[in-house]
């Protein structure tokens, strides 16, 4: 393709966009819907993912030191556990601290705890895991250190049901987004095919005058690119706006729920959306024109 041809193709494409304005706008609008669905899906996915992650991080296990551990042994184990790679945080709770905590919990009924000796409660390690799935492995290592099975309070059931829940939420969200995306891609390709069908006579004439397939196709593909990019840009702006509105609202209304603002993430989403729009426009035009080139 010569560079002078590129100018010709661009002029042709822009002129055709103007002349077939209604169809161009229809195709671009349909692309907006399609890309918007994908964008909202991606943003929801990332928010839900971040939220589930933050809940997961709160899940911990507690290891109670057996009575026969000397204070040196306690100190040693504590240091070992802090070095575990699966662990994000360890808090040592001494016997005194445990009693303090207990008293605080029962501050309404002070007589229950009155007169208890200082060492009635065992010292413990409160462990926060990076990944709830590692709880089994960590429990095993703690048992190797000398903890009995009864000394470990694993939130196993909670962890497992939480993981199942997170898995299903993400699966449903992904499936719904994919289905909507599929439907809207079919819709866009239909609109493009319709607009090209309306111009099939034109394509036939071009071919009879001696235009090669590529020569006929290029302006159509450029049109598709412009339509796709225009639709995707609008959709991406809407998604970015909706995301920041949601983050602002959530910070205000749900101060206890951690919401990731994720500026980098939204930029990635915007790029994915623009690429998707262009791909839909270009591929849609390319394949729709191809059907009418066999003259």
């Amino acid at each position: 393709m010569r560079s002078s041809n590129l100018g010709f193709f661009l002029r042709e494409a822009l002129k055709n966009l103007r002349l077939n304005l209604l169809m161009s706008v229809t195709a671009a609008t349909t692309t907006v819907i399609c890309v918007l669905i994908l964008g909202l899906g991606l943003v929801t996915y990332s928010h839900v993912g971040a939220f589930l992650d933050s809940i997961g991080r709160d899940i911990s296990m507690t290891a109670y030191f057996p009575e026969d551990f000397s204070s040196e042994r306690v100190e040693e184990v504590r240091e070992n556990v802090e070095a575990y790679p699966e662990i994000s945080e360890v808090r040592y709770v001494s016997k005194e601290q445990a009693l303090e905590d207990f008293k605080e919990t029962l501050s309404e009924q002070p007589d229950i705890v009155e007169g208890l000796p200082g060492d009635v409660l065992p010292a413990s390690l409160e462990i926060t895991l990076n990944n709830p799935g590692d709880s089994g492995a960590v429990a095993q290592r703690l048992q190797d250190e000398g903890f009995g099975e009864d000394d470990l309070r694993r939130n196993e059931e909670l962890v497992e049901s939480f993981e199942t829940f997170a898995y299903w939420i993400m699966l449903i969200l992904g499936t719904v987004t994919a289905l909507f995306l599929l439907a809207s891609v079919l819709l866009v390709s239909n609109v493009i095919r319709l607009s090209i069908f309306a111009r099939r006579k034109e394509i036939e004439v071009m071919k009879l005058v001696g235009a090669s397939d590529g020569f006929v196709r290029t302006p159509f593909v450029l049109e598709g690119l412009v339509q796709g990019l225009a639709g995707a840009t609008l959709a991406a702006l809407l998604v970015a706006w909706a995301n920041s509105a949601f983050v602002d609202w959530a910070r205000e209304a749900l101060p206890l729920v951690p919401v990731a603002s994720g500026a980098g993430k939204i930029l990635l989403v915007v790029l994915i959306l623009l690429a998707t729009g262009i791909l839909i426009g270009v591929a849609g035009s390319y394949f729709s024109v191809r059907r009418f080139l066999k003259v």
């Binding site: 010569r2 002078s4 041809n5 010709f8 002129k15 055709n16 002349l19 006579k201 034109e202 036939e204 004439v205 071009m206 071919k207 009879l208 005058v209 001696g210 235009a211 090669s212 397939d213 020569f215 003259v295």
Partner: protein
Amino acid sequence: MIYFENVTKVYGGDVVALKDVNLGVEAGEFVFLVGASGSGKSTMMRLILKEIEPTRGAISVDGAKLSAIPRRYVPKHRRNIGCVFQDFKLLPNKTAAENVAYAMEVTGQRRRAIRTRVPQILELVGLGGKKGAYPGQLSGGEQQRVSIARAFVSQPPILIADEPTGNLDPDTSVGIMQLLHRINRIGTTVLVATHDREMVDVMRKRVVALEEGQVVRDMAKGGYTSEV
């Protein structure tokens, strides 16, 4: 220039459009292809353009066997043949000048060449004043002139016209035929399919008559019918 050898074309398995046609058209000839609707004239035109393939037989155009031309070289083949159709087949969104220019653009010619050549050719067909008009703003005769200008702008060795006057009134038709005649006189091989009896009788050119897909008559300086 154009040779049909035992060409048969059957559509859809049972509609016989051409039956064992032999025809030779030499360079620089002007030939009328006459016959009723359905006699096979348009089929011959479409075969020459390689729009369709013959069921049996061989066709060669400008020294090339059409069956040997791969699909991707068909556009190049068509650039050697200017075509004029009964329904003009102009691009509705382009002006007269742009329609003519398009035929040059597809061959990748320089913009400067296009800018000088297009007004010349429009002048030649008598449309010098209507360069910027869209097909919808032109009369049938004018549209046909644009289409002839487009067919001829790259000076192809062959020009084929399928019922070029079919949609035009007799006076306008004379002008169109004169234009084709002038194009023939500068050396272009011209093949015109028509059932415009008057035109054929006036022009006194070679006449090939088709009937039910067979060549029934081939006369130099002939008329529409066999009696002279």
